[in-house]
Each structure stands twice: as C-alpha cells, then as structure tokens.
Symmetry: C2
C-alpha cells in the first residue's frame, strides 16, 4: 500500500526526526511504498496568496477561495501545490507528523493544508441541495483513504486529560481530525501521541518504537473514529445541526462521534 | 490607550480589509493610538526555524524552545521578532483579525504566534515549584492587557452552534483564546464573529459596523471570559488537573471557565 508522510519539524537530529525515520523504515519493511513530504527540507511556502496561481489576477482583487477554484479547474495551480495533490491521490494512507505548537500544528503544516486543499479538490466538491451539502464530512475527493496524526508535546499527559488545564487532547485535535481530515473524506484513525518530550531517553524511545510500530502494523485494520456522515440523515440540511433525536443530550465536539455519550 | 491590530488577510480590497479599516478609524476616533501589523503586507516569515536567531547554532542541532530562550536572553532574536514583542509591550489591548481557514487561524498568523512568543517572553516564564507552574494561564508577561479576536467565516452561524456540524465556535476558538491569549496573561474578551461572508452586502456591512463599533467602544470595559487561574488553587500542581471539588461534573474546555455548567 502507499503511504504519504507529511512531516513538519525544522531539525532532522531531533526526537521528531528519529520518529520519522522509524516510521519510514517500519512501513517499508512491511512492504509499503512511502513518500515523505518534509516541509522544512522542501522549504514549503506557508502563506496562501495570489501567487498560488501561475496567472495571478492582474487588477482584480485576490479572492482566496474563488481564485483557488479557478486555478484548480484550469491547470494553473503552482507546481508545488499540484505535486502534493498528486501525492494525496497516490496515497492509500496519509500520516501528518508534527510537534504540537500552541495547541495546533506548526504554521508550515497549516500552510500546506491551506494551499494543497484547493477549492474543487478538498472543498467546494459535489452538489449543494436540500438533501446534500456538498461531498464532505464522510465523502469527498479523499474518501477511501486513511489518515492518522503522530503528535509530540512538551506537556504532560495529565495536562491534556479530561480535566487537565490544556483541555482534552481529543478536543484539541478535533479541528484537525474532523475539520481537516474527515472533511475531504479521510477515514481518521486515533492519533499516536508522545507527551513530555524532554524526558524521552533511550528506554522511553524503545517503548515509543514498540507502541508506534504496533500502530503502523495495524494501519490498514485499525477502526477509524466513527464521525457522523453529513449527508446520511443525522443532520438537518442546510442548517447542518444534528436532528433532535440524534444524541439528544449531547452538545459540542463529542456529538459528532457515533455512540457519543448522551 | 494603545491598541495593536494583528491582521492576516492577503487582499486589502476584501471584506476583511474593509473591517480592518473600520477598526482602525473607529479606535483612533475614540482617542486611542493604533498600530497595525499587516502580516501579508509585511511579508511576515511564517516558519519558525534556526534563522530566528542572528547567530544560528553552527553544528549543534536546532532546538526550537531552547534556541528561542538563548536568543531572547542574549538579544540575538531576529529584528522582526523583537519589533513585534515591542509592539506587544506597548499595547494595552491586542486584536487578532483573520478569516477562519480550516477551523483555525491562517498559517501566516500562526507563524507570528510561534516566532513572537519566545521562550522567556510568552512561555517558560516564572518559577516552577510545588505551588506554581510558571507564570501562565492568568499570569505572565502580557498580564494586565486585553485581547480580542475578530473572525470571519464562510460557513453559517448554525454550522458553528452547540449542535452544528463544525462544532461550537467557542470550542473551536478555545485553543486560541485560552492556549494562545490567556496563557501569557491576556484578559480575553468574547470574540466578534462575522458568518457567511459571501452574503455580506452593504446593508449587512452597516450592521457589522454598528455591532463591531459597539464592541470597540467598550473594549476597555467589557468583561473578559472568566478562565480559571492556574496558580490560584483550582488545579493540582504539577498534574494541572482540576481539583475534585471544582466543577465536579464537568470535563473538557468548559471546565476551565468559572461558573461552568456542572
């Protein structure tokens, strides 16, 4: 199978660099093809702007979504964007690996999402009607592919627990899992987390290899997070609120996972 | 009073550009001093890397937090970073204005946070002991200053409601409000949101001026979101989990707001 690893850390001689090397080696040893988008090494352009089209608008104001649509539909996207989209089409699974900086992904990776996720590719796909609100949240260009996060944090696991001060890690990652990965169609696997990175020594790194190796060996069989499909009946359209009878006592991110607490 | 507006949209002739101009004019008319960090116009460097120090490590691996600390403590930060820190010191209030892209801030603004929020400036401040876990979440370099978000979205307000498919807007913004603004000490005001941007016409823009004008006129008096202070007794240290008797039935982001639902 084909795996794309999108990796965002500035220093190869780091814990993240060591994890990346382990991931690539483990996946290849199991017979997978692996491509790595090493965003810092590629000097990936983070900011979305008019130069994402080979023919930027001359006099007209730049419009982020409409100009993205025009470039996508007319083969005018800058080459770096088109190449990443080709990698996504090729991949059976995509892994995003990054250190959690200020409770989200590094800017360079956020900019990969913003630029590669073109209008017509990752959003603005499919019919909008009384019954469907586009191909998204369970449908879309990337449907049938799997995605998983590998995330490191300096903070302790307890700081990210249900009553930990930073907020629960599942809620912190929900905008990525649900809003960035599930949105264009990925099946999203539970993340692999490494906490308290400054304390990772050789013994702990051995444990990480063991745990993460298991996760990579079961990449094709692990059950995805059961997010609710937008167009399958749980949501009113176009309001896109859950119907009253669906998880009736639940609000917030948890309501969008099937079998959510009620 | 002094206001810093950090603005992240690539096109001045846009709804965001018009809102920015209105904000600056309204605040100045009320007698405030205003500085604008227009990140696209400044060609702000988004990616955090070794070149954020004037003397990058020659042979040693680059370490994002420790090298930030070294540069901050020794006056080696790149000039663009030091200038933004000076603006933050000068400001009595900071407004971050941006379009919500993929459920978070644009990459260029995320990179402003990552680079300007140096170790020793916005984190790694204060004593770590059995009673305190650094000056953060209610204390810190930026304590006594106010902060507020102005955010535009293409999606509808209902999509961001308590049971809306994207998740509640307060939860989507929590990592910014609590994790980026409250963390180094800001008092965080409720955000001002503009939904469904493609439908904003002259009439709707008149309403926005009215509503947002009110928010700007009350910038110095609006009650902040009552996030809980880390070192004031609600949390166990160093686990940083809420004590059992604090909001005992509540988990998740809401537990970190006083008078949270129980």
């Amino acid at each position: 199978m084909n795996v794309l690893l999108v990796y965002a850390h500035p220093e190869p001689r780091s814990l993240n660099g060591a994890i990346r090397d382990f991931v690539v080696q483990r996946l290849r040893a199991a017979g997978n093809e692996v491509q790595v988008s090493d965003l810092y090494a590629m000097q990936w352009k983070p900011q979305l702007d008019a130069f994402d089209s080979k023919v930027p608008p001359a006099d007209a104001p730049f419009h982020p979504s409409l100009d993205s649509k025009h470039a996508f539909e007319n083969g005018l996207q800058s080459d770096d964007i088109a190449r990443e989209q080709d990698k996504l089409r090729w991949a059976d699974a995509v892994i995003l690996q990054f250190p959690l900086w200020w409770f989200s992904m590094p800017a360079i990776l956020k900019g990969w999402v913003e630029r590669v996720y073109a209008y017509g590719f990752a959003y603005g796909v499919g019919e909008h009607s009384d019954e469907r609100w586009g191909d998204r949240y369970g449908e879309g260009t990337l449907a049938g592919k799997r995605a998983m996060l590998i995330v490191t944090t300096g903070g302790w696991e307890s700081h990210y627990s249900a009553r930990g001060i930073n907020g629960p890690i599942d809620d912190i990652l929900f905008p990525i899992h649900h809003g960035i990965l599930y949105y264009p169609g990925f099946d999203v696997l539970p993340p692999y987390l490494v906490y308290r990175t400054s304390k990772v020594d050789a013994v702990r790194f051995g444990e990480i290899r063991e745990e993460l190796g298991q996760r990579l060996d079961t990449l094709w069989t692990t059950a995805p997070i059961p997010f609710r499909r937008q167009n399958a009946g749980d949501y009113r359209i176009p309001q896109l609120t859950l119907r009253d009878e669906v998880a009736p006592q639940t609000v917030g991110f948890a309501a969008h996972v099937e079998a959510a607490r009620v």
